[in-house]
């Protein structure tokens, strides 16, 4: 079946531009996560949704970052007034249930590579 789909795959933005990154999770998956992966680093958590509720946004680096999942399916990560330090790969992952005790496996999308010039 279809996996997690992210678009665009690549995005080049001028500093100060706003960008929107889209994630289509696996159908029926309740949980959705966004991660940021800088060059040479492991992915770092940004935010988590359970259905349409954003339950954890503790990893968002600044108030320029905003995520939503209004209907509990597709999610959008928006970055306002992009800065060079925002350049990274943004990964989306989804899992079937609420999680806990290792019941969940997170399935990752291919990511969006954002380059801010």
């Amino acid at each position: 079946g279809a996996g997690v789909s992210q678009s665009p795959r690549y995005k080049v933005a001028k500093r100060g531009q706003d960008v929107a990154l889209r994630c289509d999770p696996i159908s029926g998956h309740v949980s959705l996560f966004w991660y940021q992966q800088a060059l040479g680093q492991g992915p770092e958590f940004l935010t988590y949704f359970q259905n349409e509720a954003q339950l954890d946004k503790s990893g968002l680096p600044s108030d320029r970052f905003f995520a939503e999942r209004p209907e509990g399916s597709v999610s959008t990560l928006k970055i306002q007034r992009t800065q060079q330090e925002d350049s990274a790969v943004y990964l989306c992952a989804s899992s079937r249930t609420r999680g806990g005790s290792g019941k969940n496996i997170q399935y990752f999308g291919a990511g969006t590579r954002l380059s801010v010039l």
Binding site: F33, G99, G100
Partner: protein, 113 residues
């Protein structure tokens, strides 16, 4: 707070040699530990998790709570094992916590033919 440390950025081994990718973690509660793998031009995918206690593609990993380690091992490396390997930890913080993964920085495994 939790932390995952993978001390080796790059590990090169010859085909047929044993492989051990090191992972240490820091977490005060009961963690769930995972190994994720990313082959060239592919997405991140789960390799194995400690609760399954299974061997995938010949790889095994045992959770050692005393040493807070979750090293990944394979007795005989194959060329197709060349990839980026990430150790990750999941933990529930509080009653309404999320289940995000905390990743190490990754180890690039290169298997020399």
């Amino acid at each position: 707070a939790q932390r995952v440390t993978q001390p080796e950025k790059l590990l090169s081994v010859f085909k047929g040699a044993p492989v051990e990718l090191k992972c240490n973690y820091s977490y005060s509660g009961s963690p769930e530990l995972f190994w994720y793998v990313q082959y060239s031009r592919q997405r991140l995918q789960l390799l194995l998790r400690h609760i399954s206690r299974e061997s995938i593609k010949g790889f095994t990993a045992d959770l050692n709570k005393g040493e807070t380690s979750f090293h990944l091992k394979k007795p005989f490396a194959q060329e197709e094992d060349s990839a980026m390997y990430y150790c990750a930890l999941s933990a529930l913080e509080g009653g309404a916590g999320s289940y995000q993964l905390t990743f190490g920085k990754g180890t690039k495994l290169s298997v020399i033919p």
